[in-house]
């Protein structure tokens, strides 16, 4: 039996599998359900100042089994109502992380503060939603803004602050460093990539918002590269997100340098039961790989390769 527990930024999770924001995250009952299905922690839908209905449908487009497009438009009940949901989830014992989004450092700080007041374990700042103009990603693409938002939130809350980064950038490392400078306890990467689907018969984009965000297996290699690059550049923990659907995927992220992972789209393909399945697969697979624990996998591939790929043969090392 491998030890699946991970600890980072002062949190201790029973396993490294976290429900990603925006999936099963509007209601407290769903959050609790996801936790009970086996997640190590659950992240709420990103919550803003006021109720937002989101964009009209179509808001999603499944691309076969490898990709997924969404432009939900950050629907959420608003920070006034939402604490009720968190109370429901916490009452059932769920380890809840609260996600917030805003249009300015002040708004982020205010929302994070109110979120922290609900008793969540940590807050995650959604600085990376690719399809909501002026909210999140526009700020999240500029290192100085990332730093300012993080600093404002850091000053306001006591719980760990996780900054969720966008892959829609030429330099994820600069964004991660900015978050670190601002006092982030951890960064998570990645949110979705700007993407679109066109219906050639109707001659129009499928999503009502036109541009949406790509998630699912298609983005796993991109998320891994972001984690890989960030993990060697910052000292705070990195949470890996993007395209995870199996225990193999989880270990890839851990080995790339992630201290935990978030899982989103796979829930649409495999149902919430995948948390329990991946947890038990992870247990078995770690054993097969000769690893005593999830924690012992973290950064292993970094070590093999750092700083550049070795010229010397290392076949023996792999026995």
């Amino acid at each position: 039996m491998a030890d699946l527990r991970v600890s980072w930024a002062g949190l201790s999770l029973r396993n490294p599998l976290i429900l990603a924001s925006g999936i099963w995250g509007e209601s407290g009952a769903s959050l609790a359900g996801a936790y009970e299905a086996g997640a190590g922690a659950v992240i709420t839908k990103s919550i803003g100042a006021a109720p937002r209905p989101g964009y009209p449908n179509p808001t999603v487009e499944a691309l076969d089994q490898w990709g997924f497009l969404n432009a939900m438009g950050l629907p959420n009940p608003g920070i006034e109502e939402y604490p009720k949901e968190i109370a429901v989830a916490r009452a059932r014992g769920a380890a809840v992380i609260g996600s917030v989004f805003g249009g300015s450092a002040e708004e982020f700080a205010e929302l994070a503060g109110r979120m922290a007041d609900t008793g969540v374990l940590a807050v995650e700042l959604n600085l990376s939603c690719p399809h909501a103009e002026g909210l999140g990603a526009d700020i999240g693409e500029v290192p100085e803004e990332v730093e300012a938002v993080t600093r404002a939130v850091r000053a306001r809350v006591k719980v760990p602050v996780i900054v969720k980064l966008t892959p829609n950038t030429s330099d994820p490392v600069a964004l991660a460093r900015a978050a670190e400078r601002g006092g982030a306890s951890a960064v998570s990467a990645i949110n979705t990539l700007k993407a679109i689907a066109i219906d050639i018969r109707l001659r129009r984009p499928v999503l009502s918002h036109g541009i949406g965000g790509l998630s699912g297996p298609a983005i796993k290699p991109i998320g891994l590269a972001c984690v890989w690059q960030i993990a060697r550049a910052v000292t705070i923990p990195v949470i890996g997100v993007g395209g995870i659907r199996s225990a193999e995927d989880v270990i890839e992220y851990l080995m790339a340098g992630a201290s935990a992972v978030e899982i989103g789209t796979a829930v649409a393909f495999d149902g919430i039961g995948l948390f329990g399945r991946i947890a038990s697969d992870l247990d078995r697979l770690l054993g097969e790989l000769g690893l005593p624990s999830a924690a012992s996998a973290i950064g292993l591939a970094q070590r093999a390769a750092a700083p550049a790929m070795p010229a010397a043969p290392s076949v023996r090392g792999n026995r």
Binding site: I23, W24, A29, P51, G54, N57, V60, A62, N70, G78
Partner: protein, 258 residues
């Protein structure tokens, strides 16, 4: 699960406020399941399949802006369909009481047809605001069902809510099962009466749908997601939900009075 764009091949005005659209759609579907109907340039809305064999069909009642646009869709127009989603009615035969209000018949009719073919004996309590709004009365009769009617204004059948009809039937006859679809308050009453009469009941429920894939949480109802755990639930499950008949989530996820 894949989206396709299909032409409407038949259009029937069922009532002044309700239209049926038929369209070719290959995936197999069972009565009770729904599709996401995309009205290009407008919204995409959940619709039960009112026909599950041959050309599939949906039967859409005007409830707001998109369902109004649907009324103006003509034969040859193209619509987007994805699905089918959700679970289905349990079609074990016997004496079945169906209680439908509003557009509820849209999903009850194909289930009744399938049950009739398996030898079920059907009684339908059908409600509407007024006679012209009665949906699928003829269709139920054609499949051999006894149809008992109630209208709010008394223009056909009994005056008043359909629950008066169904309560009377439950009091005077024995049924093996009860199926209901309609406004939630109505369903709540019907399910309570069924419980009192010890008739196992199931109901088809509506909530705001976005992904229809059990992911976005828009349709959450207690511990369930209506899109994947429903839309058909047992009366027992529904009665256990404080939200049922009282609260629903609006598009933002906020709980508001149902």
């Amino acid at each position: 699960m894949m989206r396709t764009v299909v032409p409407v091949v038949e259009r029937v005005l069922e009532t002044p406020s309700t239209v049926t659209l038929r369209f070719p759609f290959a995936p197999a579907a069972r009565p009770g399941q729904f599709v996401m109907l995309w009205v290009p340039g407008d919204d995409e809305i959940p619709m039960s399949l009112s026909y599950v064999e041959g050309s599939k069909g949906v039967t859409v009642k005007v409830m707001g802006s998109t369902s109004r646009t649907v009324q103006s869709i003509a034969v040859g127009d193209r619509i987007g369909i994805r699905g089918p989603y959700g679970n289905a009615f349990d079609l074990s035969p016997g004496r079945i009481l169906l209680v439908g209000g509003g557009s509820g018949s849209a999903v009850l009719a194909p289930a009744a047809e399938a049950a009739a073919r398996r030898g079920a004996r059907l009684t339908v309590a059908l409600g509407a605001t007024t006679a012209s709004e009665l949906l699928f009365a003829e269709r139920f009769r054609r499949m051999g069902a006894r149809v008992e009617i109630a209208t709010d204004d008394g223009t056909a059948g009994r005056r008043g809510y359909v629950t008066r009809v169904s309560d009377a039937l439950l009091a005077s006859e024995r049924f093996d099962a009860l199926w209901t679809c309609g406004p939630e308050v109505m369903m709540g009453k019907v399910l309570a009466s069924a419980e009192a009469a010890h008739v196992p009941a199931i109901g088809s429920v509506e909530r705001v749908m976005k992904c229809a894939l059990g992911m976005c949480d828009a349709c959450s109802l207690g511990p369930y997601h209506v899109c994947t755990d429903g839309p058909v639930f047992s009366g027992e499950a529904l009665r256990g939900l404080p939200e049922f008949g009282h609260l629903k989530r609006e598009s933002s996820g906020r709980l508001v009075p149902a």
